[in-house]
């Protein structure tokens, strides 16, 4: 994705020995053709399990198909019309969006702070990495169960430690918040690792030069660390937005596969699966999947568009 990679590669080609270049180049070109065999295995899987389902989903979304997949009838845009009119769609989309809005900024800031801490402590580096990354190594269902247990009002540790009496998982105002807290603890490790690797990639001499020029710790952070981390921060934000919009596992596990108090934790993915696998309305579920796909694609394309604009701005 970096402009640097693509700019460097052609330059490297040009440094090939000059003698007999034309004949050599022709021979190499011949050797490099028919590379299709390299990509064929992946493309087969990709066509079967990505492209075909997209096409099939698109087709099914215009039908009234049920789970048995027989005797479906073409119904035109009916599914889309019904979906966009359904309060359940907007509610579940709202929950996913609210979740995303809370999780993304917190994760970015938290991951950055933890990475700075782990990067700057000189001793036992492996220990800090292990501590902050370990929760990410738990399956989502285990993290969900664990925090369901921690948030349990009578026997859970959260209320006990903070001297509260909050029924976290059974009241509307805190149920989704509990999922957010669980997610922060569980997933921050991944972004933490990305930041940590990026911090290690910053050339040391930049700091040494700045120090010679009399820059203090704060100035070094503002003028070197933060600018050097700009790209990774953009990546972390995009990945987190895409992952958070798709939240499902923790939310259903913490609510024992239900929609939560007053249906307050039903996320978009959960809504899709309920329509598809519980109500057996595969056509309708496909229509909401396609709506969701368009939404996700818009976020991803928006990020690419921003990147391109920035690269043009740099030139």
């Amino acid at each position: 994705m970096s402009a640097v990679d693509t700019a460097v590669a052609p330059a490297a080609v040009r440094t090939v020995p000059a003698a007999g270049t034309d004949a050599l180049r022709a021979r190499l070109t011949r050797r490099l053709q028919h590379g299709g065999w390299f990509v064929a295995p992946f493309l087969t899987l990709f066509a079967l399990f990505v492209l075909f389902p997209i096409g099939r989903g698109l087709w099914l979304s215009f039908t009234d198909a049920n789970i048995s997949g027989t005797g479906e009838r073409f119904v035109g845009l009916d599914n889309y019309r019904e979906a966009l009119d359904s309060p359940l769609l907007w509610d579940s989309l709202g929950h996913s969006a609210y979740f995303t809005l809370l999780v993304v900024p917190c994760i970015v800031v938290l991951a950055f702070l933890l990475a700075m801490l782990a990067h700057h402590i000189e001793r036992a580096k492996w220990l800090w990495r292990l501590c902050f990354f370990a929760p990410f190594l738990l399956p989502s269902t285990v993290a969900g169960n664990l925090w369901q247990w921690l948030f349990n009002p009578g026997t859970g540790m959260i209320n006990h430690v903070f001297g509260l009496d909050t029924p976290w998982l059974t009241q509307k105002s805190t149920a989704l918040l509990a999922v957010v807290i669980t997610t922060l603890w569980w997933t921050v490790g991944f972004s933490f690792l990305l930041f940590l690797a990026a911090l290690q990639n910053i050339p040391r001499h930049l700091y040494e030069a700045a120090e010679l020029d009399g820059a203090g710790a704060w100035q070094r952070m503002v003028h070197i660390t933060l600018p050097m981390l700009r790209n990774i921060t953009g990546l972390v934000i995009t990945l987190q937005i895409l992952a958070s919009l798709q939240v499902f596992d923790q939310a259903v596990v913490m609510q024992d596969f239900g929609p939560g108090p007053e249906e307050s934790t039903r996320t978009f993915v959960q809504y899709t699966l309920e329509e598809g696998f519980t109500a057996y309305r595969v056509g309708y579920a496909s229509a909401i999947s396609i709506i969701f796909f368009v939404l996700i694609a818009a976020v991803a394309l928006g990020r690419m568009w921003l990147l391109r604009k920035r690269e043009e701005g740099v030139r």
């Binding site: 970096s2 028919h34 390299f38 079967l48 099914l60 292990l130 169960n145």
Partner: protein, 283 residues
């Protein structure tokens, strides 16, 4: 935070003491939930749900762990998890290394269009298109089979993209010298390119393994048979279904998480350097 220019094995400067103390405090908070799971798993079921709750078991017992192995299908689930994750990792590493190289270094008709398609695939996950993916897999007759669990996880556009970026950064001269000596495309790939890519390949492999081991949504959709379930699935759907026994649930959860934590302890250096190498962090 004035440590950037300090040599590696430093003295206990005041700032290091403060930072280390902070690190200890934050890690303690971070590890507390896991520690609590461990303590709960060593209580008896009745003690686990006692109010008011307490940290350390008054009576230490391995009863929950014993019950886990005696009653549950936990060993079964564990074996299933191993089979599925190992197969997925093997196929993904092989297939995406080939494809990444094909896109980065060879020519064929329609390459750019196909590359564009793969990039579009970055936006699709079972969460986004789960229902159509399920009906597809269903029509192939792969519901409730290992293949049905494994193959749909084996087309990760992201891994192809990461390796594609990496292969682009390898100097052309290395390959060209081999071509001039008469080596074929495949030989160059296996004897020159792959050995050079070990850090990137292991990062891709480790992340694929983690994702597959912890994948809940897809196996949840594609299997109903408790004999075929993986660890995260079995624990979430079967153990919860007959009334939650917290001590046993915590023991099961720790069992499910343990293998990856062990893997991480041994491979963390490779993981961090792999992340740096694949260019993920340097974007």
């Amino acid at each position: 935070m004035s440590t950037a220019a300090v040599p590696r094995k430093s003295k206990w400067t005041p700032s290091q003491i403060v930072l280390t103390a902070l690190g200890v405090a934050v890690s303690a908070v971070w590890m507390t939930p896991l520690l609590w799971a461990l303590f709960t798993s060593l209580k008896s079921e009745t003690e686990a749900v006692e109010v008011p709750t307490h940290w350390v078991p008054q009576e230490w017992t391995g009863q929950a762990w014993k019950a886990l192995f005696e009653s549950g299908n936990i060993t079964n689930w564990f074996v299933n998890s191993v089979i599925v994750s190992v197969c997925v990792t093997f196929i993904v590493v092989l297939v995406s290394a080939l494809a990444g190289y094909g896109f980065a270094r060879t020519e064929f008709r329609g390459k750019n269009a196909l590359l564009g398609l793969v990039m579009a695939g970055l936006m699709v996950s079972p969460a986004v298109l789960g229902v159509p993916l399920f009906t597809t897999v269903q029509s192939m007759g792969m519901v409730d089979t290992y293949w049905g669990m494994i193959l749909p996880q084996c087309a990760p556009a992201a891994m192809v993209y990461i390796l594609y970026k990496f292969f682009q950064s390898i100097p052309h001269e290395l390959e060209e010298a081999a071509y001039i000596d008469g080596a074929g495309r495949w030989r160059v790939f296996f004897t020159i390119v792959l050995p050079l890519s070990r850090p990137s390949l292991s990062a891709v492999g480790i992340f694929t393994f983690i994702a597959s081991w912890n994948n809940f949504l897809w196996p949840y959709m594609v299997t109903n048979n408790p004999d075929l379930m993986t660890m995260p699935n079995g624990i979430a759907t079967v153990m919860n279904s007959y009334g939650i026994q917290w001590a046993q649930l915590m023991a099961g959860g720790l069992m499910a998480g343990l293998p990856l934590i062990v893997v991480f302890v041994f491979f963390q250096r490779q993981i961090v350097s792999g992340v740096a190498h694949t260019g993920l962090a340097g974007q």
